[in-house]
């Protein structure tokens, strides 16, 4: 198998902040690799280094065999980059934007026009192509933002959280686009902090935290890291923080975290531990209003590895 991207001990420091600390991931040609991690994990910094926006403090990376340090232009020509924040000209139409970005990738004339038509078809905005981008909804902007990276049919597409802050319909459209592009042979490096997206799309997932890759594997391999543990989701009638520390002390609980009023607890044996959780809640003056015993997921994996929730 050929390697589309090969990161070799990438480091990035911003002054005292060590944003990326020795990442050596590889992306196989034709696969989808997801970088999954909480805010500030270093996902965007890695992408900035791969796409030539930032110089690595240390290490190197090869994109289709081209070193980002020594042959940045060649590396960039193989890449399509979808930035995390929408990077389009708001006062130009969708079509004008795409024509311009196509030219920046060296496309011209009839070939450019044809390719813009194709890409508009892919993102489903043929009807709205003449509209100014600043008049578009968030989801439509996101789709144009992606389209601009596809014009030159790059071998590798890097997408940095392409579904942030949009409606479920647009999100569905984008995820289907990614799968379709991948089916046609495009390699995708995808970053997200939505575990469901990583689970649905990826051949491999790299979980990142504090600038390091803390786990790498297929979805199933990662889930197995949690071992025989069971995940219990509980809801409370009071603020989750009141019982969280108490529950973390309960025997048989390996990890507990709270977010959005939902407490996730990893336990060895739910039959044995559940009554103790009720006792501890009562002692803290809280009442449990809902209990769900579920299969472990990537959220549970992250909790298992770090003791924190993915979306803090």
């Amino acid at each position: 198998m050929t390697l589309a991207i090969e990161m070799q001990n990438l480091h990035k420091r911003f002054g005292d902040l060590h944003a990326v600390q020795g990442v050596s991931l590889t992306v196989q040609a034709g696969e989808i690799l997801s970088l999954l991690g909480p805010n500030g994990a270093g996902k965007s910094t890695i992408i900035s280094m791969l796409s030539g926006l930032l110089q690595p403090t240390e290490g190197d990376a090869l994109v289709m065999g081209h070193s980002i340090r020594r042959e940045p232009e060649a590396a960039k020509a193989c890449l399509g980059v979808v930035p995390q924040d929408i990077a389009l000209y708001p006062d130009l139409s969708a079509r004008e934007n795409l024509l311009f970005w196509g030219k920046m990738y060296g496309l011209r004339g009839a070939a450019l026009k044809k390719r813009v038509d194709e890409v508009l078809e892919i993102i489903g905005l043929v009807d709205r192509q003449k509209g100014r981008v600043d008049k578009f909804s968030g989801g439509m902007k996101r789709r144009v933002n992606i389209a601009a990276a596809l014009l030159h049919k790059p071998q590798v597409v890097i997408m940095d959280e392409p579904t942030v802050g949009i409606d479920p319909q647009s999100r569905r459209h984008i995820l289907d686009n990614v799968k379709e592009l991948n089916r046609q042979g495009m390699t995708v490096l995808y970053t997200t902090h939505y575990m469901e997206e990583a689970a649905e799309l990826s051949d491999h997932i790299a979980i990142m935290d504090h600038g390091r890759v803390i786990a790498y594997g297929t979805h199933d391999e990662l889930i197995r890291l949690v071992g025989e543990q069971t995940r219990i989701d509980l809801t409370l009638n009071v603020d989750a923080g009141r019982v969280l520390t108490a529950w973390q002390q309960v025997e048989g609980v390996s990890r507990a975290s709270a977010q959005d009023g939902l407490v996730t607890v990893l336990v060895d044996d739910s039959n044995r531990v559940l009554p103790r959780l009720f006792e501890a809640a009562t002692a803290a003056g809280a009442r449990i209003t809902g209990v769900d015993i579920r299969e472990p997921n990537l959220e549970a994996v992250f909790l298992h590895l770090t003791g924190r929730a993915l979306r803090d």
């Binding site: 796409s51 030539g52 926006l53 232009e73 060649a74 960039k76 020509a77 890449l79 980059v81 930035p83 924040d85 929408i86 990077a87 389009l88 000209y89 708001p90 006062d91 130009l92 004008e96 311009f100 970005w101 030219k103 920046m104 990738y105 060296g106 011209r108 601009a148």
Partner: protein, 428 residues
Amino acid sequence: MKLIDIALKDMLRSFRSLFAVGMMIVAPLLITGLIYFAFGGIRSEQPDIATIHVGLVNADVPSADVPSANVPFNLGQMLVDVFTDAGVADLMTARVYPDVATARAALERQEIDVAVLIPTGLSAAVLSGEPSPNTAVVILHDPALSLAPQVVGSMVTSLLDGVAGGRIAIQVIQERHAARGLALAPAQISTLIGQYQTWYTDFLHTLFYNPTEAALRLVAPGVDETAVPMSQILGATMAGQMIFFAFYTAAYSMTSILREQEEGTLARLFTTPTDRTIILGGKFLAVFLTVILQGAALMLFARLAFGIRWGRADSVLLALVAQVIAAAGLGVLLIALVKNSRQAGPVLGGGLTALGMLGGLFTVGIQGMPAFFDVAALFTPHGWVLKGWRLALAAQPPDALLLPFFIAVAMGAVMFVLGAVLFRRRFA
């Protein structure tokens, strides 16, 4: 190629922005227009100037009463000659009527706009230096007209003043001679008068060589004879506005790089296989092209709207090139020193206005500014660009513009290089 694509994209964005077009083209025209109308819309009377119909009634008789001279002095005929002179032919038509009654009738029928009535004894009265109400030249005119009577009146006054001046001159000469116990021979006096008449006719020729210009000079309110003609004031005012907004436009166009940085499109450009030097080059090219287009458009509109004659094509080209390079240079440098587009606003508004003031852009029509401003203007690119335009507007040949041209271009080039180096450090 990508360089041009980037520049064209920037220009498309600029010219699509109402605000930008307003500041680039509408504002300078509007301001000059306000000044233009404040002075009463000079050109609307121009057709009037071109067709002044003058009627003349010459009742004067040549005066032989020149002290010791035998040449008759014929002031009435000189006045008639002034109006029938070929030099004023495209400004006015002149007809001589036999008496006042027929001239009045012609005025009532509107065959003529102005009637000039030359009284009997005018020559004698002027020569003696003792004019009376009976010997005054009377100008009758259609009350609806204001410009034509002024023009005619001024021509009459010029001649009479000139003759009176000549009389005094001859008197002084005679007195000097008399004081030394000499007397002028009659032949000498007649030669002197002959010479004076020749000189004075020439003088009037020169004065009315360009009748339109002379007429404009007469009607410019509050402007005395030595002042710059109104058409030139309007041209210089427009030049001042054009220069100010050219500098503004250059800096505004350059801020697009800051906006792109904030919009994330600059970073996206950097992820494409495009050399950063080319990206910067494209942005710089957009600045130059925008200022060139703006200058050309303003000159054209100003020509059409206000009839401003910018000067000889080669001189105009020099002035425009100086303006483009100076404006682009300062624009690039200013924005290189600014962190973000929010900071750019006050820098453009405040900094460029202050520099424009020092450069004299807003005081072009005002005479007798404190000398400090003349000196200050030498230190601003604006001042030198304005000097270039003033010379071009005065129909000077290109070599007259070389000094301001080279100084403005040198200032612009230095600032551009500095700015480009700063931008390269920052982005490339």
